[in-house]
């Protein structure tokens, strides 16, 4: 499946407090309602910009550093973020994203400008920068994570297999 959407570009070391602040994440377990606060402390307009047509969140190194809050990938999913593209990810966020079904792609994001139109086909491993007319190579997910993502996340994987069934 190919997803086409605009790139919204940010910098290095985006932490999970920026993705969803502690002052919001404790208020409820309603991710739909919380999504309006996604990325708020970094870009108060994020939800307004991304939610209508969807978008790719593009960043530099160490995306998702900090807390283990799974609200971080969840509010991004509920703000209509299609995937995160970054040079590198912090490990807890990386797992949480896969577990909740949010695609994460490690690639050279210097090849993407803010506002560029991108198309991503995860299964075929193709990422195109439509605006610049370039292909951006990326490494496939480790097999275990690809399997979890293909199953729709870890909870769905468990339901399907009755426990861990990873190679």
């Amino acid at each position: 499946m190919t997803v086409t959407a605009k790139a919204f570009k940010y910098g290095d070391d985006i932490n999970t407090d920026y993705i969803i602040s502690g002052k919001h994440k404790f208020k409820s377990a309603d991710m739909e309602a919380m999504a309006v606060h996604a990325m708020e402390d970094l870009d108060p307009e994020y939800y307004k910009k991304v939610s209508p047509d969807g978008g790719f969140l593009v960043a530099g190194t160490n995306f998702g550093m900090g807390s283990s809050r799974e609200q971080a990938p969840l509010v991004l999913i509920h703000s209509n973020t299609k995937a995160i593209l970054a040079k590198s990810f912090a490990r807890i966020f990386y797992r949480n994203a896969i577990n909740t079904g949010l695609p994460v792609v490690e690639c050279d994001t210097d090849l993407i400008g803010d506002g560029d139109e991108l198309s991503l086909d995860l299964e075929d491993g193709v990422l195109k920068n439509v605006t610049q007319g370039t292909d951006i190579p990326f490494a496939p997910l480790p097999p275990v994570m690809a399997q979890l993502l293909a199953d729709g996340g870890l909870a769905a994987h468990f339901r399907k297999h009755g426990g861990f069934s990873v190679k």
Binding site: D13, S67, A90, A155, F158
Partner: protein, 427 residues
């Protein structure tokens, strides 16, 4: 007979023992976990994930605990509903519930002996790496990973490479384990050890108390690490006397273990360190920030809310007053620590100096309650994170330091070098 390729790190040995494989860095293993923990910011989503998995209980109620610490007692009705959900989960599954006032999860779990040296555990909180200080491979995971572990007693892991961190020399007066770990963050950066385990070694670590070691392991995540491991020595084993009902099984690294990287830091050359807004890696020697005005000080958290932290602060503040333009907020990391600190007189010293005591727990660290700073204010805190907005206001500025640095600073109303209290002079 198979000849081993090389020796193993602590992480490789613990993963080998818990997965029934000959685990080496880079391997993917499904491992048995000895304990699973969640807190009030993460447990509600774990309960929901268990429902999504179609699972009705936990693998072993004696090996799971949930803790209300991040927003506790509840400041708003939304949180009250989440706390109720956790209490009902406890009644339904039989897992241990640590309710309002018990303390911070990362003090309670080792304090109760839920984990012992040699264990593998996961917690739905990034600072779960704290128990590396007592030789437990403990690591933070999200709610769905936590739910999978609660359901099955297992989780998949990539066995991490290990970075060996050696502190040489000798800790100087007025300098503490917080300063050692801030110096590391300043040196290798906030992603310096991403995907790796840290192993801390050397005479400086050996000389630290278990409390002080926990401060260092607690901040392993701040350099991106999965775990912050230390060997279990006689101090560790003494600390475990009377805690829990399982015998410690200490794990040492092999002499020929292979490390992905090695970092040496000379403790003799490290003075008090301060992480400046808005990044934990934005570390300076205190000399560079001395004189910065502050409006609030906070002593507490899973990093520095333990008995010896309160003692250091009380020793500095005894007979002195918090500056009239400054609020000092103090939270003990657990009810037991609060009781011990009361017994020792530290709490009286702190309150007489002007401190506001809040409930054992996370206090104002994560911006949910107990002291949200105002626009433009500077805060000096013993916590582990100073991200913009962390304490609930993105227009405030958070500096991180040791309990001694916070205590010295709240007296003068500006960031202050605490060493003058340790030179045999003023104190």
């Amino acid at each position: 007979m198979v000849v081993p390729i090389s020796g193993k790190t602590i992480a490789e040995k613990i993963f080998s023992a818990h997965s029934g494989t000959d685990a080496h860095a880079g391997d993917i293993v499904v491992a048995d976990v000895d304990f699973v923990m969640g807190q009030d910011g993460t447990t509600p989503l774990a309960i929901r994930a268990l429902e999504d998995m179609g699972v009705d209980g936990v693998f072993d109620p004696a090996k799971v605990a949930v803790v209300m610490d991040h927003s506790s007692p509840s400041p708003i009705e939304g949180v009250s509903a989440l706390h109720t959900m956790m209490r009902e989960f406890g009644k339904k599954t039989g897992v241990k519930v640590y309710d309002v006032g018990c303390g911070v999860c990362h003090q309670l779990i080792p304090e109760a002996g839920h984990v012992v040296p040699g264990d593998l555990m996961v917690g739905c909180d990034s600072h779960t790496c704290t128990y590396g200080a007592v030789n437990v491979f403990s690591t933070g995971v999200g709610s769905t990973d936590g739910a999978a572990a609660m359901a099955s007693g297992q989780l998949w892991f990539k066995v991490p490479d290990t970075m060996k961190v050696v502190y040489t020399g000798e800790l100087q007066p007025g300098v503490f384990s917080k300063d050692l770990v801030l110096a590391l963050a300043g040196s290798i950066g906030v992603d310096g050890a991403t995907y790796m385990a840290l192993e801390f070694h050397g005479p400086v670590i050996d000389a630290l108390s278990v409390d002080a070691r926990m401060t260092i392991s607690n901040m392993a995540i701040e350099v991106g690490a999965k775990a912050g491991l230390m060997k279990a020595d006689a101090k560790t084993l003494a600390w475990y006397e009377g805690r829990g009902d399982r015998a410690p099984a200490p794990v040492d690294p092999d002499a020929d273990a292979i490390y992905a990287a090695e970092v040496m830091l000379d403790a003799s050359a490290i003075g008090p360190q301060v992480a400046k807004p808005h990044a934990v890696g934005n570390v300076s020697p205190i000399e560079e920030v001395v004189g910065t005005p502050i409006a609030q000080g906070y002593i507490g958290t899973c990093t520095n809310g333990r008995l010896e932290d309160l003692k250091v602060a009380a020793d500095i503040l005894r007979g002195r007053k918090v500056h009239p333009d400054v609020r000092l907020i103090v939270a003990a990391a657990s009810r037991q620590i609060l009781l011990d600190a009361m017994e020792a007189g530290y709490i009286r010293d702190l309150i007489e100096a002007g401190a506001a005591m809040v409930t054992p727990g996370c206090g104002p660290c994560v911006g949910t309650h107990n002291g949200v700073p105002s626009d433009g204010e500077n805060v000096i805190s013993t916590a582990n994170r100073n991200f913009k907005g962390r304490m609930g206001n993105s227009n405030a500025f958070i500096y991180l330091g040791s309990p001694a640095t916070v205590a010295a600073s709240v007296i003068e109303g500006v960031i202050t070098d605490p060493r003058k209290y340790f030179m045999g002079g003023e104190a």
